[in-house]
């Protein structure tokens, strides 16, 4: 599930980071702030906003329910959506910084050699920002893996359906099953450490 949300984080986060890094348009910094808020807000607040938007009576969820009879709340998708929203800021922050550090002259050189902006982005800008983007992706994955609060708000804690590892730890500890809880804790800690190591490795090795 963390993998699914990271997939979307990368595919949506990288273009957003590119726009924020390379374009100037009104409201740019406001968009950056809105996109970054889930990073600093308590996850329960993020979850609350998600309910307002995607809940059965929500701004978008209402129509979704009317047209399809389906609601996202308390489903596997809700857990993925919650992870996506809290992990996206890390991708955007890391991506924007990586893309902004690409030498402007290299991009101009590509333009004067006849390459359109999209071609330049694919052949020059993104490859040169590759390591920073990878680091952002790995961090997002680690964050998605550890998501708790927003998931609990939006997806609940339904065993076998929306029970992510952090939620499982909460249940296990709550029911006094310390043995099982500590093994899940151990696995999660180890995975987080591995991802942090990968993120550091990618971000350090710049050409």
């Amino acid at each position: 599930m963390a993998a699914v949300s990271t997939f979307f984080v990368v595919f949506i986060g990288v273009p957003i980071a590119y726009l924020l890094a390379r374009k100037s348009f009104p409201g740019k910094e406001a968009i950056d702030i809105v996109m970054t808020l889930p990073l600093v807000l308590p996850p329960t607040v993020t979850g609350y906003y998600l309910i307002i938007v995607f809940g059965r009576n929500g701004l978008i969820g209402r129509y979704l329910y009317e047209w399809t009879g389906w609601g996202i709340m308390f489903t596997w998708y809700a857990a993925a959506l919650a992870s996506f929203v809290v992990a996206l800021p890390l991708m955007i922050k890391a991506g924007r910084a990586a893309l902004e550090s690409v030498d402007r002259n290299l991009i101009n050189a590509s333009y004067t050699l006849g390459y359109s902006e999209l071609e330049t982005a694919l052949k020059v800008t993104l490859p040169l920002a590759k390591r920073g983007l990878l680091a952002g992706g790995v961090l997002s994955f680690a964050r998605a893996l550890g998501e708790f609060g927003a998931t609990l708000m939006l997806a609940g804690n339904i065993p076998g359906k929306t029970e992510t590892m952090p939620l499982a730890i909460y249940s296990l500890a709550g029911s006094g099953d310390w043995g099982a809880a500590s093994s899940v804790v151990g696995i999660l800690t180890l995975m987080a450490a591995i991802f942090l190591y990968l993120a550091n490795r990618y971000s350090k090795r710049i050409f």
Binding site: N108, A109, T112, F207
Partner: protein, 262 residues
């Protein structure tokens, strides 16, 4: 034929207002740093949009504010060698040069590539990355990348400034050679008097966003229009701030495009 530039551009308290025209020759834009030389190149290449004016080369109009023409940099067919060369660090020498061959017919690409490798003495380093080759080699790769497409105009923004003196003199000889091989307007920006004297067919002297003198290299070198230009040309570094008012004669000269064509 040649390159015609008449542009105005205001940038943060600085006003560039120049007009000049050159043939298929090597023209040196000469003057202190901050006089608008590099900005002029960026305007010609389309990387920055002028406030008003006209830019055209060998029959193509790149920019014409009167007729609302503003071609994208991709459509201008301009070879641009940047001050820091701007070689792509993630590509090999071969990939860098071939990156410049966009639009070259596929059958011709290999032939042109070998032509460039031979002309620029790049045999043996084709699979290296820019970080693995010398400063002089980097220069030559940048030239090869800019020229493989056979652009209409070649712009050189202080390409030798990062080199030490022996290599710089070698590169000057190389550029002279290049000039004989490729018939196109070449604009070289420099504030090195020796470079201007040894390379230029014509010299355009910039000061604070205006052209204060232009003419064939001989004319300008023999008859600098005033003390400032003379001091610039003999290469004496001067820290005096340049006075803003120019002599009337210089003004008239700078507003008469084409008078110094060979």
């Amino acid at each position: 034929m040649g390159l015609k530039v008449t542009v105005k551009k205001a940038v943060k308290g600085f006003m560039l207002d120049v007009s000049w025209q050159i043939g298929n020759e090597l023209a040196v834009l000469f003057g202190f740093s901050g006089s608008g030389k590099s900005l002029t190149l960026q305007l010609i290449a389309g990387l920055i949009k002028p406030d008003s004016g006209f830019i055209g080369a060998n029959g193509s109009t790149y920019f014409d504010s009167a007729n609302d023409i503003d071609a994208a940099p991709q459509q201008r067919s301009i070879g641009y060698v940047f001050q820091d060369l701007a070689l792509f660090p993630h590509m090999t020498v071969r990939q860098n040069i071939l990156f410049g061959a966009k639009g070259v017919p596929r059958q011709e690409t290999a032939e042109r590539y070998h032509e460039m490798v031979n002309a620029f003495y790049l045999n043996g380093i084709e699979n290296k990355r820019p970080s693995e080759i010398s400063g002089g080699q980097k220069q030559r790769v940048a030239f090869a990348r800019a020229l493989i497409r056979r652009p209409n105009v070649l712009l050189l923004d202080e390409p030798f400034s990062a080199l030490d003196t022996p290599l710089r003199i070698e590169m000057r000889a190389f550029l002279k050679d290049l000039r004989k091989q490729f018939h196109m307007p070449i604009v070289l920006v420099t504030h090195d008097a020796g470079e201007a004297a040894s390379l230029a067919d014509s010299i355009i002297v910039y000061s604070e966003g205006s052209v204060i003198q232009k003419g064939s290299a001989g004319e300008v070198l023999d008859n600098p229009i005033d003390e400032r230009v003379r001091r610039l040309l003999v290469g004496q570094p001067t820290s005096d701030p340049l006075p803003v008012n120019h002599s009337g004669q210089a003004r008239r000269k700078s507003s008469a495009p084409g008078e110094n064509r060979p």
